[in-house]
């Protein structure tokens, strides 16, 4: 009981701090110098119509590489811990609605995910969201099947190959233009075309493949570990 009240008081105090710090805040009507620079020069500079992708992949590509490393270490840790748990029995059969949907929808979902990945420099999306969409199709397949998934060497190879390619693309820029992950090792082309924007589409593809295979591996090992009670 005391714990509940202490928790409530802490939450209320935090809320008061947030409200008091927001009371002097007004929405800035003009962009800062960095944002102004990105919006003015972004499209000509990178060839990417979607400025979010231009910033995420081209201007701050090194941060994205760090993000990929974070996701990699997190999924490795999860899979390592889950393999320590003894393998469970086959899950309870899913209802006919779920198993029918799992037979019909995944193809369309994978196609949509590939669209999001490949058009990352043209329309909203990119490697991370598209990879998550593709992984959710595999999740649906696992939900519909009544057996636990086996080991997949293919997933692991796609994951390692994608990570390696990301690093090699970075070193390509270093070798030719003297800058890690330089976007201009491939021609920028005309903005709005599918094959444009330097190496942004390639990096989107690599990130998408890596995220999709990593998340699918985590789902598979999660599905495998332990029994359902």
């Amino acid at each position: 009981m005391i714990r509940t009240y202490v928790g409530l008081i802490i939450v209320l105090a935090l809320g008061a701090i947030v409200v008091s710090s927001l009371s002097n805040y007004s929405v800035p009507l003009e962009l800062g110098s960095t944002g102004h620079n990105y919006t003015q020069r972004g499209v000509d500079d990178t060839g990417s119509v979607n400025l979010v992708t231009a910033v995420v992949v081209a201007y701050r590509g090194l941060d994205t590489l760090g993000e990929v490393v974070v996701l990699f270490s997190a999924s490795t840790a999860v899979v390592l811990i889950l393999t320590l748990i003894p393998m469970g029995a086959n899950p309870t059969p899913s209802s006919s609605i779920v198993s029918f949907t799992a037979g019909v929808l995944p193809g369309a979902i994978v196609l949509f995910g590939i669209y999001i990945i490949s058009h990352g420099h043209l329309s909203p999306g990119g490697g991370f969201p598209g990879g998550a969409v593709v992984a959710s199709a595999f999740l649906l397949i696992m939900l519909g099947s009544n057996t636990i998934p086996g080991q997949s060497r293919l997933l692991a190879s796609i994951e390692s190959l994608a990570g390696l390619t990301f690093g090699l693309l970075g070193f390509w820029g270093m070798m030719t233009l003297g800058q890690f992950l330089n976007n201009k090792v491939l021609p920028v082309g005309s903005p709005g075309k599918l094959l444009s924007a330097g190496i942004i589409p390639l990096i989107s593809l690599v990130i998408g493949a890596k995220v999709a295979s990593e998340l699918s591996g985590v789902f598979a090992s999660y599905r495998k570990a332990g029994g359902e009670k």
């Binding site: 979607n50 979010v52 992708t53 899950p91 999001i116 909203p124 999306g125 990119g126 991370f128 969201p129 998550a132 969409v133 992984a135 959710s136 999740l139 939900l143 998340l215 789902f219 999660y222 599905r223 332990g226 029994g227 359902e228 009670k229």
Partner: protein
Amino acid sequence: MSLLAAASIGIGVMMLVAAVAALVVRKLISAIIIVAFVSLSASVLFLLMDAPDVAITEASIGAAISTVIFLWGRGKIGGEE
């Protein structure tokens, strides 16, 4: 107040109510579904605020993937409340 702002505030209030409901509701499965609803509302909110990139990520990871992970976890611990 524009229609867009009114819709945003309405969704925000709905999210607040649902988030509190997820804390106080007795059954675990109801809490999981309510959290998924909060995630989906956040995704719509991002879309209304001109951030479609974030909206796609929130819808696929927040609403779909984490909900299924929670449901599997609930199945494994076998808890009802």
